[in-house]
Amino acid sequence: MNAVLQYTVQGLAAGSFYALAALGLAIIFGVLGVVNFAHGACYMLGAVTSAVLLDSFGLGFWAALVVVPVLLFCFGVLVERLLVQWLLALDPLYNFLLTFGLSLVLVDLVKRKYGVSGLPYERPDVLTGQLSLGDLRLPTYQLFVFVFSLAVCLVVWLLMTRTRIGMIVRAATERPDLARALGINVNRWITPVFGFGIALAGLAGVLAAPFRAITADMGSSFVIILFAVVVIGGLGSIVGAVVGGFLVGLVEAFGQAYAPAFAQILIFVLMAVVVLVRPAGLFGREEAA
């Protein structure tokens, strides 16, 4: 029983990274129709930037939680204005290729500057140690990651469903032509939405910094699983991305526990099953797929 609880916490912690990043991916896809392959590289940039901020500017983990997403938002805005917007009118494949190329460039730039073996990062003291509940020992940091990302996801969801901006963005996502016809300037929201999606990937990267190896390649396999998450949840679906993220985290943890050799394959088996049964994903609408 204890073990099951432990695996659940570990799965939810791992899922937190997927949920946050997938949320960004889903929002970008929803509003721009862009499948952002550079999302893994942006996750990596988030972690690397945290390490650099600590090393060069003495800015610790808490500051990074705020500063890094802001920086990545600006980076996202730049990328959208300079590159992505020119290809929006064309087949989505063009932006897919563009962002794929962009991720290669980013990874190589980081390798050039910081090498391949990674950067050190110190954990914030408050988050070290474990929470002991009888026999059960839960690492504080994993709990923090789960609670924090769940809170962020909730805020984003409220933003999307309860505010005027959110409604506009959702309208622009679901019926762009109708939204335009009603006099809403859809284009105005494209750039900030792209930046916001990138910022979420960066935030996931900040959370990963104390917990995972900070290397140029850290996003390369991450982004593959991220796509599985988005497909499972339903492309463009905000709730789907979050639920899919946590679900994949749990599958990964229980897979590692009970069928180690199949831990990663299980995720893609789940994806295949979902696609067969519900081609649009768990929370996707058929027509959006």
Binding site: A3, Q6, Y7, Q10, G11, A13, A14, K111, G115, V116, S117, G118, L119, P120, Y121, E122, R123, T128, G129, Q130, R137, P139, Y141, Q142, A208, P210, F211, R212, A213, T215, D217, M218, S221, F222, E252, A253, F254, Q256, A257, P260, A261, A263, Q264
Partner: protein, 415 residues
């Protein structure tokens, strides 16, 4: 890449046309002691991927340092008057390594290929060395196959192998009281090899392995694997992960606080670059086997200072190993008075040597395993660190004859 080879092909074709147009000619092959009038040392390794920092471009620098030292030592008496160092990137892929080795031996006239991390890539190069009858001095790969079942006359393994790592760490940690082990290893050739070597070393030392967990590779989430390994309350968890995976695992091991529960961590293979990238704090107290450490004595330190001037960083054992292999190759050419591969092999076989890297070294004739002292090291705690890269304490020196697999067990037969 394609354009490059197309250009090369064009160059060869036009060159051939020019030659045939001249009727006869072309460079007359000198029948001196040195083939093609020059000695070519080729460093074939990972110039851009995961092993770039621990070997990569700086190993080329180390080989150039060896060339400079050879030239300085022999001056006008040098047998190899013209020495060239070339390099190629094998991207850790066996098929790329195979093609590159062919190119280096045939087109670049390489007399020796050095380094080649990644065992599968190294085995491919060893086959080329055998076919072309040219030398291959391996520094980067860990497999015992190179000096075992797949050994050949022209291949030597210079620095370390899985047996040496397991024998050092597995034995020492068990004898120090951590008798009950759980092993976590990546599920590919190197990891499986390490798991086997460690298990038998631990058994022999009187310990036991209560479980081995295979993990996917690469992997960034080891929390559940660690929980499983810790469930049986072992004395120590042995990890065979390398590079970024190792760093992931160590961070998550620390996060879960297993050290406080009395579960130690032992690392199968670790380079100083790993400690540098994770930070001493997280690795403090971890035991591992090292083939060489830059600050272990004055001789190593003096060389490491020179290396620092050249590269701006401290050397890993792979860098020092490449220096040593290049230097001993050139010394063998000097003694043989030719770069003919068979003569150089004769000079190398059975040679006893002491240099910056090899201490009490011997190039075993039977299996071409280069044996030398190995070291059981412990990572310092942050307050013991007095300068950059000062990360290790050498706990014990494992004498050369005990450090490596005995020759009669290697299973090597050179026909």
């Amino acid at each position: 890449m394609r354009r490059k080879s197309a250009a090369a092909a064009a160059a060869i074709i036009s060159g051939a046309l020019v030659l045939s147009a001249c009727g006869q000619g072309g460079p007359s092959s000198a029948s001196g002691p040195i083939t093609d009038d020059k000695v070519v040392l080729a460093v074939l390794n990972d110039q851009s991927g995961v092993y770039k920092d621990l070997s990569g471009p700086n190993s080329v620098k180390a080989v150039e340092m060896a060339v400079a030292d050879y030239q300085k030592k022999y001056g006008d008496d040098a047998v190899a008057t013209d020495i060239e160092v070339v390099t190629a990137d094998h991207q850790n892929e066996p098929d790329v390594a195979n093609t590159k080795a062919q190119e280096l031996y045939d087109r670049e006239h390489a007399d020796v290929i050095l380094d080649v991390p990644t065992s599968s890539a190294a085995l491919a190069v060893a086959n080329q060395a055998k076919a072309k009858k040219k030398l291959f001095l391996a520094v980067g790969p860990a497999t015992t196959e190179l000096t075992g079942d797949q050994c050949n006359k022209y291949t030597f393994n210079w620095a370390y192998d899985t047996y040496m790592l397991a024998n050092g760490t597995g034995t020492a940690v068990t004898e120090n009281g951590d008798k009950d082990w759980e092993i976590v290893y990546p599920d590919y050739a190197f990891g499986q090899d390490m798991e086997k070597s460690f298990s038998s070393a631990i058994d022999e030392a009187g310990g036991s392995v209560s479980g081995s967990i295979a993990t996917p590779f690469p992997n960034d989430n080891f929390t559940t694997f660690l929980t499983k390994a810790a469930a049986s309350k072992p004395d120590v968890i042995g990890t065979m992960q390398a590079g970024g995976d190792l760093i992931n695992l160590v961070k998550q091991y620390n996060e879960a606080g297993y050290a406080d529960q009395g579960i130690d961590l032992a690392v199968g293979l670790m380079f100083i670059t790993d400690i540098h990238s994770l930070g001493v704090e997280q690795f403090a107290g971890t035991s591992f086997t090292d083939a060489w450490y830059w600050n272990m004595d004055d001789k190593s330190r003096a060389w490491a200072d020179r290396f620092m001037k050249e590269t701006g960083t401290r050397p890993s054992f792979a860098h020092a190993g490449n220096y040593s292999a290049a230097l001993q190759y050139l010394e063998a050419v000097q003694r043989a008075e030719t770069d003919d591969a068979d003569d150089v092999v004769d000079e190398l076989e059975g040679y006893k040597v002491d240099d910056v890297f090899l201490r009490n070294g011997e190039i075993r004739a039977g299996d071409h395993r280069v044996i030398h002292d190995a070291y059981l090291a412990k990572v310092k705690s942050p307050d013991e660190v007095t300068e950059d890269w000062d990360y290790e304490d050498i706990v014990t020196t494992i004498p050369a004859e005990d450090a490596f697999m005995p020759e009669e067990e290697s299973g090597c037969s050179m026909e």
